[in-house]
Symmetry: C2
Subunit: 335 residues, 2 copies
């Protein structure tokens, strides 16, 4: 592989000049520029990005830590991020944190050791304090799907509470009063906030959530099926079920079918996230939209603006969810 040195020799100029035409940061006479370009072309010269990084103290790489690489949710997020960075010539290093404390911390350290210029973190297990400490470090980072007041300027998040509110509010407006709830792991902020929204919507109608109709699931399909069984086992009547995310809703739909119950005739179901497959369940799932791809893109832009100082479009940090009506909810028939 040709080096800058060989290019300079062939072009009959100095190292520095070659560097200048590459980065065009310093004026170079047009004729010499041409000479250099020609030499580069002739040698098939490609700058060594490692050497550039060492000398410029900028690796042009940003680390992404997500909980999982698979699953409809993170895929959409990564797509938004990658597209934005690729266009800017930055590259993306990914690591999975698996929602586990140790793995998430390791992941962050791993990414830091790779000398990323910045980090985009979608972490769940790590504590607020840990992140606040991390902010003292000289590796800048943005937080996706998390709200920490002390770090508000680097948080990009959805109003989960509002989403939870909207889901339940829609059911209430349809006449439902006995509403079961399958939550995600309540130690996860988004699961908790969604549930709080649920409670607020109930309060609007002078109602209170019935603890017997509550189940704490795992955000996965099995959580939905187990949750439904548990709720049915109470023998209590209910006409609607809110699930903390679409995966659990899908599990609940499947379980209901296997038990001979039909949705929405036996009861209505609402999910959360609007992942791509929500449209392909049967019945099609009514859910809350989570614009995760756009949010990933915003995280990328934040980095572009704050770290690479490129003049980019506005960065939106707070996103509002909205309700997507489909076929899994119907009005509560007066009995």
């Amino acid at each position: 592989m040709a080096t800058i040195y060989e290019v300079s020799k062939l072009a009959g100029v100095s190292l520095a000049t070659v560097s200048r035409v590459m980065n065009n940061n310093t004026p170079v006479r047009e004729s010499t520029r041409k000479k250099v370009l020609a030499a580069m072309e002739q040698l098939g010269y490609r700058p060594n990005s490692i050497a550039q990084s060492l000398a410029s103290n900028c690796s042009n790489s940003v680390g992404i830590l997500v909980s999982e690489l698979h699953g409809p949710f993170y895929g959409a997020m990564l797509t938004g991020i990658e597209a934005e960075f690729r266009a800017a010539g930055k590259h993306v290093i990914i690591a999975a944190g698996h929602s586990e404390l140790a793995t998430e911390q390791e992941g962050i350290e791993f990414l830091q050791s790779r000398s990323c210029d910045a980090l985009i973190l979608h972490v769940e297990a790590v504590s607020d304090d840990y992140l606040i400490k991390l902010a003292q470090t000289d590796t800048p980072f943005v937080l996706l799907n998390r709200q920490i007041p002390a770090l508000a300027d680097r948080c990009i998040s959805l109003n989960n509470e509002l989403g939870g509110y909207l889901a339940t509010q829609h059911l209430l407006a349809q006449g439902h009063r006995d509403i079961a709830y399958i939550a995600g792991p309540m130690w996860k902020t988004d699961a908790k906030e969604r549930y709080q929204g649920h409670q607020r919507a109930l309060a609007d109608y002078q109602l209170v959530a019935n603890p017997a109709l509550f189940f704490e699931g795992d955000f996965r399909e099995t959580g939905g099926s187990k949750g439904l069984s548990a709720i049915l086992a109470t023998g209590l009547p209910f006409t609607a079920l809110v699930c903390g995310n679409d995966e659990m809703a899908s599990g609940a739909l499947t379980a209901a079918r296997e038990l001979g119950l039909s949705v929405p005739d036996s009861f209505s179901v609402v999910g959360f996230d609007n992942v791509n497959f929500a449209y392909y369940t049967y019945p099609k799932l009514s859910t809350i939209d989570y614009p995760i791809s756009a949010m990933g893109q915003m995280a990328a832009r934040w980095v572009l603006r704050e770290v690479y100082r490129s003049a980019t479009v506005e960065v939106q940090q707070l996103f509002e969810p909205h309700f997507i009506p489909r076929d899994s909810v119907k009005a509560c028939s007066p009995t």
Copy 2:
């Protein structure tokens, strides 16, 4: 950030010695090792990976090019790859090729310019010749889901033809004779091979595929729904439908339901890939298993073995699919 130099000063040894304890490739007296370790600890020393890369001519990074970052298929693949590399201390740079020629080539060049030690390529649009030329370059790469005879030693692929054969064979064994087929884009090798397997299975029964019952889709859900409409529009009878992948099968299921047809009573459906949501469709989709996560892992191992010379477990390059019976197929009732 502390450098190796400061560590050496604090420990009272030379630069070289510090480097040696880090890489432990050269014997170092235990007492000096301790001193160095202590100094590193005290300074919170972290090696600069960029400098390491420049000096050692090894970036410890491998580039991954996939068609898409979202979708159940690639997610599973990335998971297999990331886990394997992370454990080996290598990191993963990803790029999306979107199944488009220009984007795939750009992606490869992008990854090369990032001085990856190796590439894992899941490319569809790029030609065999291009890849054969690429093999002359000094960037080693493995091919996932592609078979090129001249590059056989770096191909990790599934026997798609066999998969296609198994899908149809199962239907034939269940008594089906009029079998419709919704293929993926036929310029994609896997789509073509799956269809060839379909034809071979038919041939076993002295049957020939009916071109009127064939539809070329796009591997996406809409392909399945459009395909089903097109096939129904012919008015020809059929009792089973094979789809080139699960996404299209899912689309066909949804479309069938909307048309008032019930699967598998009106007709049976088989998919391909066994993506995670295949279990959550209604009815649960009978399909062909595609062990993509394991294949991703193998690609990673190939790199570990061939490029990083680490003694790893055997690398399996050829994978065999098998049939997963679920609820979308039933025996053809004799009429």
